[in-house]
Subunit: 203 residues, 2 copies
């Protein structure tokens, strides 16, 4: 919550600017994750970060721009999706399950994912971010595995992931909400495997 942290001696930046910017980002992530896009105000974020609302605008421009920037997943996550295609094809569903359950267990990335899901139900900008993640990161994985309707497969995987995240962390559906991460991996791995490599239609 403090705005004055020791600044790095190695940069010529204004003391505290970098940490203040990060304080604002951290406060914004929590607000977006807990309240969703629409109910989150720049004033509330500024209050949590202990700064003036005008400073939030100076750093980030608008609420939209702030949302896009602070709710981005770390670049490493996108790369990790693509890397899942390496390795045995018949266990890719399990590797994907381990990756996404890990993302949901890590408090930093969980905040981003749940904030996007909460916001996507009430705001078009947030819905666009969810669409981009699916049509870029998930599609990269599906496209590396098959030529058979990779976008449809990416969409189904994305829908299942969002449904499970919502059930486990937001709606708190038992027993999904109280299982260990390893148990959740076991449960969702076969569905991911089916969506990625199984026969897509029929049944």
């Amino acid at each position: 919550m403090s705005v004055s942290r020791p600044s790095s001696k190695r940069t010529g930046r204004r003391p505290g600017a970098s940490s203040t910017r990060e304080d604002i980002a951290a406060a914004a992530r929590v607000r977006f994750a807990e309240g969703g896009y629409d109910r989150t105000t720049i004033r509330a974020i500024a209050g949590d970060a202990g700064v003036d609302p005008a400073l939030v605008v100076r750093f980030y421009g608008s609420k939209e721009a702030l949302f896009r920037e602070v709710m981005a997943l770390p670049a490493g996550v996108a790369d990790a999706f693509t890397a899942l295609a390496d390795g045995p094809r018949e266990t890719v569903g399990r590797r994907l399950a381990e990756l996404v359950v890990g993302v949901l267990e890590n408090p930093a990335t969980r905040t981003v994912v749940l904030g996007r899901i909460r916001s996507a139900t009430s705001h078009p900008d947030a819905a666009a971010l969810v669409r981009e993640t699916v049509s870029r990161d998930m599609l990269r994985l599906a496209g590396a595995l098959t030529d058979d309707e990779p976008l449809t497969r990416a969409t189904l995987v994305g829908a299942h992931f969002v449904g499970v995240a919502l059930a486990r962390h937001i709606v708190l559906l038992e027993p999904l909400s109280t299982m260990t991460p390893a148990e959740v991996v076991e449960l969702v791995a076969p569905t991911f495997q089916h969506c990625l490599t199984g026969p897509l239609r029929g049944g």
Copy 2:
């Protein structure tokens, strides 16, 4: 939007009371579906229905009570879930897919389902309604099919359904958002079948 419709000659009710009550319910469903629970006010619902906010309170009590009453699924839907267990076990996933895709295609029930999902991300009461549907209606079906962790299966089916509904109707994920209902049935039937009757863990 009118509050004065011809009242039924066969009842002794105050003229218009029944239709006013239904006007309020219809306005509330649309507001909850489009804006979610938190952003919907009794004042806005009353405005849409062309009545005084005090009348909404007199008819329904509180916003919570109004939400619970107007966002209930028709009793026939719950019975339809149980009836799915009749018929060949190996095609129950397809029958369930046809039922839920039908619920999402019918404008009246779609409004209720999407309103619950939108509201569940921002309000505990709405989350409780989603939990109840899964742990009662879906569990009735899963329990009629198997003794092997029916609640876990019901939860997975519910999570997949919510994810698909969100992707198709709220986040508008292509190609799921532009498929015909029959195509969506084809896509989700195998996953439902797996969740209901397949080996639950591993992969």
